[in-house]
């Protein structure tokens, strides 16, 4: 005879989604309490990919530690490096040359597009549509090629360093970015035709995983998750860094607060990022790509904080310096962790299929949550 299937005292079914599960995209472990198909409670368990990156950073010099951060949110490695570099520059009071600033913003936006594309494909796959994944990867491949030429890597880039960027852009960079923009404009419309307008997709997303603006603020959600509920949270607008002040772009806001609103925020952000790239691709100023800095960096005694907008939300880097060559303490405020904390609030009460849709639109990258 089959033994009693594991239920808790209330007769509810408790299932372990993860650490190995196709929908968690990594080693996230969710303990889901179900009443039939309806979700009662979700408890995320972390720690499966904890590499103590913060502690590792404390034993690395100010030039070295940003390399580790590429492995946090590996889909926006440039932006992680950017945050670290800017935080160190704040301490050193280094002025970054204009050419480096433009290059930094350009690779940031390319990273954002690549990250959103992977999210789009993976989320469609969570909902059972396989084909979008391959379509997304076809265009993402172009960005990877651009990165490979200029930065020498395709995923964990380590291109942005304190003082500027590590090397000048490849001669093909501008040409390739231009052809990518042209290609991508037509492909976004294709994405919309394939997925956004699909009636099954809209039924799966609309009204699912709703979160109010107040709850977004109290859970500390940032990025597209917050903007989908109508909360201004774009760091590029609120606390502009580099040359974002001078650029023309909109903060994408939706008011729906559901999975479809989060989806639409990211789809519109893709177009916005392309718009930013268009403004910059022909306007890269001549000059140095790196400011002159000392070989061994020493931050003055004090505390430094820098925030940036990654593809997932607000990333904060907090450095406590004792004046030595290595930081005394480093703390990262990662967007994924705060967004994950709202998962129980968002998905409880829905069906099991809704959990997958909500989790997909939170765009979780597990190494970012679990550093």
């Amino acid at each position: 005879m089959v033994e009693e299937i594991g239920t808790n005292e209330e007769g509810e079914l408790v299932i372990n989604m993860g650490p190995q599960h196709p929908a968690t995209h990594g080693v996230l472990h969710l303990v889901v309490t179900l009443q039939g198909e309806t979700i009662k409670k979700i408890e995320p368990h972390l720690g499966y990919i904890h590499r103590s990156i913060e502690k590792m950073c404390e034993s690395l010099t100010y030039r070295q530690f940003s390399y580790v951060t590429s492995r946090m949110d590996y889909l926006s490695s440039h932006i992680n490096n950017h945050a670290c570099a800017m935080c160190v520059e704040k301490g050193l009071q280094v002025e970054v040359p204009p050419r480096a600033q433009v290059i930094r913003v350009m690779v940031d936006e390319l990273t954002r597009i690549a990250s959103h594309e992977l999210w789009w494909g993976a989320m469609a796959m969570d909902l059972g549509a396989f084909t979008p994944f391959f379509h997304a990867f076809r265009e993402r491949e172009n960005i990877n090629d651009i990165m490979e030429e200029t930065c020498g890597a395709r995923l964990t880039m380590n291109y942005i360093v304190p003082g500027g960027v590590m090397a000048d852009i490849h001669p093909n960079f501008q040409k390739r970015v231009k052809s990518f923009i042209e290609l991508f404009r037509s492909k976004i419309d294709e994405y919309d035709e394939l997925v956004t307008g699909n009636i099954i997709f809209q039924n799966r997303m609309k009204g699912v995983g709703w979160i109010s603006a107040e709850d977004v603020v109290s859970y500390g959600c940032t990025g597209p998750v917050a903007r989908a509920s109508g909360v201004h949270s774009d760091i590029r607008k609120l606390f502009p860094y580099e040359i974002y002040e001078k650029l023309q772009f909109n903060e994408i806001l939706e008011t729906g607060g559901d999975s479809f609103a989060r989806y639409m925020v990211r789809m519109r952000e893709l177009r916005e990022s392309v718009h930013i790239l268009e403004q910059l691709v022909d306007n890269i100023p001549e000059g140095e790509f790196q400011a002159k800095t000392k070989a061994v960096l020493k931050l003055p005694k004090g505390e430094f904080y820098q925030r940036v907008e990654t593809a997932r939300g607000e990333l904060g880097v907090y450095i406590v310096s004792e004046g030595a060559t290595t930081p005394y303490r480093i703390k990262f405020r990662s967007p994924g962790f705060a967004n994950l904390s709202a998962l129980d609030h968002i998905a409880a009460g829905g069906k099991l299929g809704d959990l997958v849709a909500s989790m997909g639109t939170l765009d979780l990258v597990i190494p970012d949550i679990d550093r």
């Binding site: 005879m1 089959v2 033994e3 299937i5 594991g6 079914l13 299932i15 599960h21 196709p22 929908a23 198909e37 469609a124 796959m125 969570d126 909902l127 059972g128 549509a129 396989f130 084909t131 994944f133 391959f134 379509h135 076809r138 394939l194 997925v195 699909n198 099954i200 997709f201 039924n203 799966r204 069906k351 099991l352 299929g353 809704d354 959990l355 997958v356």
Partner: protein
Amino acid sequence: MPSFENITNAIHTWLTTHLSAGWAFFIELVLVGVAAIALFAALGLVLVLMERRVAAWMQIRLGPNRVGPKGMLQSLADTIKLIMKEGLTPEGADKFLFNVAPYVVMIAAMLLLAPIGFARNLQIWDLNIGVLYISAISSISVIGILMAGWASNNKYSLMGAMRSGAQIVSYELSAGLSVLAIVVLTGSLRISDIVQSQETGWWIFKGHLPAIIAFVIFIIAVTAETNRAPFDLAEAESELTAGFHTEYSGMKFALFFLAEYINIFIVCAIGATLFFGGWMPFHIGHWDGFNHVMDYIPSSVWFFGKTFGLIFLIMWFRWTFPRLRVDQLLNLEWKYLLPISMVNLVLVTLVAIKQWHF
């Protein structure tokens, strides 16, 4: 024209002249069984390869292209691999039910091959209630799926099986009602009669709007009945890992896999028979010259052409659409498809009584 009847008759005469009537009948049964199993295996291999190539084509990939010419032996290689794999039975599983379930599903699929007319005079069993037989036998596979889900002692499997039960039982209603539309028009449950009635044109053209509505509902319902995307909630890999066959491995998994593809073939064959004339060539009314030219294309080509056309349609669904949620799935059936097919049945009856069809 060469006909399969000549071959079967030749075998029959040879056997009856050389053996007693009892032995001849027994050997004929064995031959038919072997032929059915061979067809079963061949279809499985072809359809798996076809699915992979269609998927690859839609996803800008190449698909299997290494084993054999143009990757044609890939599914054979996979089968050999699956046969040689260890078939695990999880601890705490109901061993008897766990091991029987794949065979229930497979045998149900196999039995369905019997009343299908593959070509002119090529049919295993032309029974007078063919359509009823198909509806009855196709319901058996859900028992196998429920057995597999329950016996695995796995929560994901159990949920997959429960979803599958709810889904297949509901969608059987619409599938049955849309099949009934053609039965009403033909006035017979016998498959050969249904095919013969389409000699002057296929029902999808002859039956006006009600036939088209019935066909659309039929395709939606059978996609759900075979647990294919966008109705693949029973296996829903992003929610339930693999649903009812999560715990199966090796050949037992392969049997589920094979049964799924045979079921697709069968429902498409039924769709082709009912709405597109089965092996009947494309005929237009009494244009004898045109009809005569069409007759030169062998009837088996017509049958398999139509069936594979429908199979392609169902594969196209799978690689394009996202999956429905379980409550939306049941809403679609009970709130939309069932009422529509009931009204449609009344319409069809009106058409049949008034002789409005061609």
